[in-house]
Every structure is written in C-alpha cells, then in structure tokens.
C-alpha cells in the first residue's frame, strides 16, 4: 500500500466520526465539534452553548466510539476467522458466540430487564457457547477445522432454540419487544458505561489480532504445511480464536447482534488490498468502523424512531455489495 492510501484509510473514519457527532435532530457544525473536542484536553474559550456540549459529549460521543469499535472489531474478527478457517464464507459468529451471547441477553432481559446485568450475562454466555463448541468438537490437539465449524453450527442451533424459548415465555407487552429489538442490534441506549465495559475488551481482542496479522497468512495453509514453517500452529489458532471470540461476545453484549459486517467487510478490504492479511486486517478495521458508524447515523436520523442495525446493515449493505461483487467479478480470489 502506498503512504497516502494508509493515511487516507486512518483519516477517513476520524472525519466521518467528527461529522457524525454533529448530525441528528440537534445539528452541530463540525467546526464547533472540533472545538468542543479540543476543549476536553486543552483549556480554550467557550464559544458554544452548554447544550451543544452535552449533546456532543454525553449523548453522541460514547455511541459513536462504540460504533467505531464494534464495526472495526467485527470486521477484524471476521477477516481473522475467514483466514484461519481457510473459508471466505465464515463470519465471526461461526463458532456460536453470537447465539450464546444472544441467549444470555434474552434471559438477562427476562429476569432483570435491560441493563448491566443483561450485558454481563450475555458476555458470560457468549464465552460459554465457545466452550461448548470446543467440547462438541473434541479436545484432540489436532481436531480438524471443519469439526469446529460443524460444532459451531450445532451450538448456534441449540442457543437459537433457547432464544426462541425465552421469547415464547416472555411477557408480550414489555419483555418480548425488548428482547426482539435487542437481538436485531442497536446502539440506541449506548452510554459511557457500555463503552467502559465493552471498549477495553474489544481493544484487547483487536490488539492480539493486529499483532498476529501476518501469521494469519500461514494459518490459511493446510495444517502440515503451516507446521513446516516452524510456527506453533495450535497456539496461534487458539490466540486467534480467543481474540475474535472476545470481540464478538463484547459487541453482542454492548449492542446486540449486528449481522453482515464481519462477513462482508473483509471481502471489501480484499478487493482493495489483495489477500495478504497483513493489510486485510487493518483495512477491514478502517472500513468496518466507518461502515457501521454510517449505518448507525442512518439508524438514528432516518426516522423518528431508531431502526435496528442488522436491518440496515443488510438492506443497505446487500445491494451495495452486490453491485461491487458484480463489478469486481470476485477478483480477490
């Protein structure tokens, strides 16, 4: 990649984020936003109203940072899983994390209502689902990759059934809409507290994947070939699984199930930079964060009520990527 491309890649999400801080029912112009943001670090004269500062810093800021982290995290996790499983159709929830976390959130909402309890239970169940997947796949050191994928499908099916069960028994006046809405993904209730819980976890996962980005190329090779490169294949695979899993579980805990991003964004990244994961991962991060941020902007400003994220990621994403796919003719493979 050329220097200016790299610079553009990192600059663009920041610009989109600044503009996003302004849009909504209460408009703030970008210049004022930059000044408000600067004032958080350096003392400068206040030329804006307190109202503007509250809207930008307290209402929109945590939501926008979360959108960036979740979009980027899911895209990176998806790219890593696609590489590791050597399968371009894999998404970060392939091992059953999303379904598990979704079930956790559902029973959380059922018993405690929407709040921190539901999020923590979601996180725990996301990780439990992964453990269950590994239990099903068997603990042989060299269990074949497709065993994990099959075990993940089984886990997802089981937890999806359990989600249906909780919906079935939930109070249809109050709890059922909350669960349904939450399962479609939304950042509508995002606060600093969500950011403080999910943010560090997502960043940790990203950091692990980012460091291992070149090694991912080696993991796409058949197992014996990868071993013959003198790398600890099993340990690396566990590290990638751990990184991707915590990202996915944390995103589901913070914003519900956000579909599509983890599957599609890595392919878009590959159209730009080829198959080398050294570049695919950072570019996925940049595009994914920007994409989900734009989607979230639409979700909160398109209509008077919030539109769930998964609806928009698919409705807007599908035609856009269909055109892209036809135009590029799948040139990345």
């Amino acid at each position: 990649m050329k220097k200016w491309q790299i610079a553009l890649m990192w600059l663009l999400p920041i610009v989109v984020a600044i503009v996003s801080l302004g849009i909504g029912r209460f408009y703030v112009d970008p210049y004022t936003i930059v000044k408000i943001l600067t004032s958080q670090v350096f003392p400068i004269d206040q030329t804006w109203t307190n109202m503007e500062e509250t809207v930008v810093m307290n209402v929109r800021f945590p939501r926008i940072i979360l959108a960036l982290l979740i979009g980027g995290g899911l895209a990176m996790a998806g790219a890593s899983f696609q590489g590791m499983f050597g399968n371009p159709l894999v998404s970060p929830d392939i091992l059953g994390v999303s379904a598990g976390a979704g079930f956790g959130a559902s029973i959380g909402i059922l018993f405690f209502g929407q709040g921190i309890e539901a999020q923590l239970i979601a996180l725990v169940f996301g990780l439990l689902a992964i453990l269950f997947t590994f239990f099903v796949a068997g603990n042989k050191k060299s269990a074949a990759v497709f065993m994990f994928v099959l075990a993940g499908v089984i886990t997802s099916a089981l937890f999806n059934a359990l989600i249906s069960l909780t919906k079935f028994v939930a109070d249809p006046e109050e709890k059922l809409p909350a669960i349904t809405y939450w399962l479609m993904g939304s950042l509508g209730t995002a606060t600093y507290r969500d950011l403080y819980i999910a943010g560090p976890i997502i960043l940790c996962g990203m950091f692990v994947l980012y460091l291992l980005r070149w090694r991912l190329n080696l993991l796409t090779l058949p197992e014996d070939e990868a071993k013959s490169m003198g790398i600890p294949v099993t340990a690396l695979k566990w590290a990638v699984i751990a990184g991707s899993t915590v990202i996915t579980a944390a995103t589901v805990a913070a914003a519900g199930i956000v579909g599509w991003v983890g599957l599609i964004i890595p392919h878009v990244a590959r159209m730009f930079v080829g198959n080398n994961n050294q570049y695919v991962l950072p570019v996925s991060l940049a595009i994914g964060s920007m994409y989900l941020l734009l989607i979230d902007d639409l979700a909160r400003s398109l209509t008077a009520t919030e539109i769930p994220l998964s609806i928009l990621t698919a409705i807007i994403g599908a035609p856009f990527f269909a055109v892209l796919l036809r135009k590029m003719g799948g040139r990345w493979s």
């Binding site: 460091l211 190329n217 070939e225 013959s228 490169m229 003198g230 690396l236 990345w332």
Partner: protein, 257 residues
C-alpha cells in the same frame, strides 16, 4: 547435514492395514549432505506418511530420526524448520496470495511471532523466486499461475529459509511431462549448486532413476529396500513392487539431462 532414520516404525496397532499406518517396518537409512534420496513406491504404499514421520510432522511410534546424530525430537521446532524445507504437492489455495507473499511465508522461522516481515525478507523471497527461474511472476496470484509454476514457487518458499535438506512430496506427479522435467532439473541443479540434500517421493521409477543417489523402495506387504539406485532398481524387483514388467533402457542421449 546428515539425516538418519534408525528403526522407524509407525502404526496405531500391530495390524497395519489402515491408513495412515505405515506398512513398512523398521525403516533405516542414512542421507549424507548433498545426496538425493528417492522414496519410490506405488500409490497407497505410505510414502507421504513416511515423509511426515521422517520430518516429525507425525511421530514415529518406534525409532527416531537423527539430524547430525541428534534426535530430531530434541531440536527446537524453529531451528528444525530452518534446516529442513518441506515442499507439499501444489494445491489450490482459498486465498490467492501473490507468489511473492507466498514465498515470504517461508521466512517464518526467522521472524519473531509478533513482528512482520521486513525488506530483507522480501528481498530473500525475490532471490528465491529468481533461483527457481520465475521471478517475473512475483506479483501474480498463486491461483492464476500454472501448476508447474506454483510447484516451483513452493520450492522457492522452502529455499527462502536456507534449508540444508529439502523434503518433496511428489512434486511432479500431476504435471505434464515438460513441467515434470523442469521440476526435476531444478531439484538436481539446487542439489548440485547449493549442496542441499533432498528426499523426494515419487511413483515414477524413471524419475527416481534420473535423480536419486539412493532409493528407498516401499510397496505395502512387499517390505522395504534401501540402497544405491542401480542396486535397488533391478528389473526383477520392479516387477515385484509395481506388478508390471519394466525394462531398463539407456539411451545415449538422455532426454532428461
């Protein structure tokens, strides 16, 4: 480097009917520096399993591989794979890396776990591609080049780690005859010029005859023979192992040379 296998056995149970059990019992051979050993046998004789055992990708159930008189299992994996290069059969890849990216992967034993390949690694990759004669294809996707070119790139991927032994698993078996010769010639040239020893799996007797100093012939129940190429590959034994009449003919002008 000297590579020696003493008393190698690989099986899950005493009965050796099922794959990947190795029919052959008590594998013994010594490979001196710069020599080429060919493991020759029909399909399904366990040649690939044998290669994996020799390199430690599978563990011998009995016996041991020695490298310079040191047991292979005692060597650190990173050190081992700097000295031994494993060339798999060319196969379609899910992700079409460029040949340069593919070859750089071979530098992995030299690159610490959390870092990325440097300029130096990139230069080494181009040099290795040059060595096998396909530097001009460096930026091509490995799913766009021909099978022979991909096989050459896979050889380059091991060369980039500066190995002392190359282990090749039927590198020529699904190529057309012209590409086969290119591959065989390349292997022979590397062995001569760089003093790299090779172990090469093949089911073509003529290829073993052309390349190898020693032959390890294997054939399911028929046992195992190791020795100088000319001693092992007699007409009588070829019939016994491959089940058809084969004649040794020498042409004055060896086409393969």
């Amino acid at each position: 480097m000297k590579l020696e296998v003493k008393n190698g056995n690989f099986h899950y149970s005493k009965r050796r009917q099922q794959l990947p059990n190795l029919y052959a019992e008590n594998v013994n051979f010594i490979l001196q520096p710069g020599e080429i050993l060919s493991i020759l046998g029909p399909n399904g004789a366990g040649k690939t399993t044998m290669l994996k055992c020799i390199t430690g990708l599978l563990n011998w159930t009995e016996g041991e591989t020695y490298i310079d008189d040191q047991p292979l299992t005692k060597l650190h994996k990173k050190e081992l794979w700097k000295r031994v290069g494993y060339v798999p059969q060319a196969h379609k890849m899910t992700f079409g890396y460029s040949l340069e990216e593919l070859v750089i992967m071979g530098r992995a034993p030299y690159i610490s776990t959390l870092s990325q390949p440097s300029k130096k690694d990139k230069l080494a990759a181009l040099e290795a591609l040059d060595l096998v004669g396909i530097k001009h294809l460096a930026q091509k996707s490995c799913n766009e080049v021909s099978g022979g070119e991909l096989q050459l790139a896979l050889i380059a991927r091991t060369l980039v780690a500066d190995p002392e032994v190359l282990i090749l698993d039927e590198p020529e078996s699904h190529l057309d005859i012209q590409k086969q010769i290119v591959i065989l010639k390349t292997i022979r040239r590397l062995s001569k010029e760089k003093g790299i020893s090779c172990i090469i799996n093949t089911h073509y007797p003529n290829h073993a005859f052309y390349l190898a100093d020693h032959v390890l012939m294997t054939g399911k129940e028929k046992g195992l023979v190791f020795g100088q190429t000319a001693d092992v590959m007699t007409e009588a034994r070829m019939k016994q192992f491959f089940g058809i009449e084969l004649k040794k003919l020498f042409l004055k002008k060896m086409i393969y040379c």
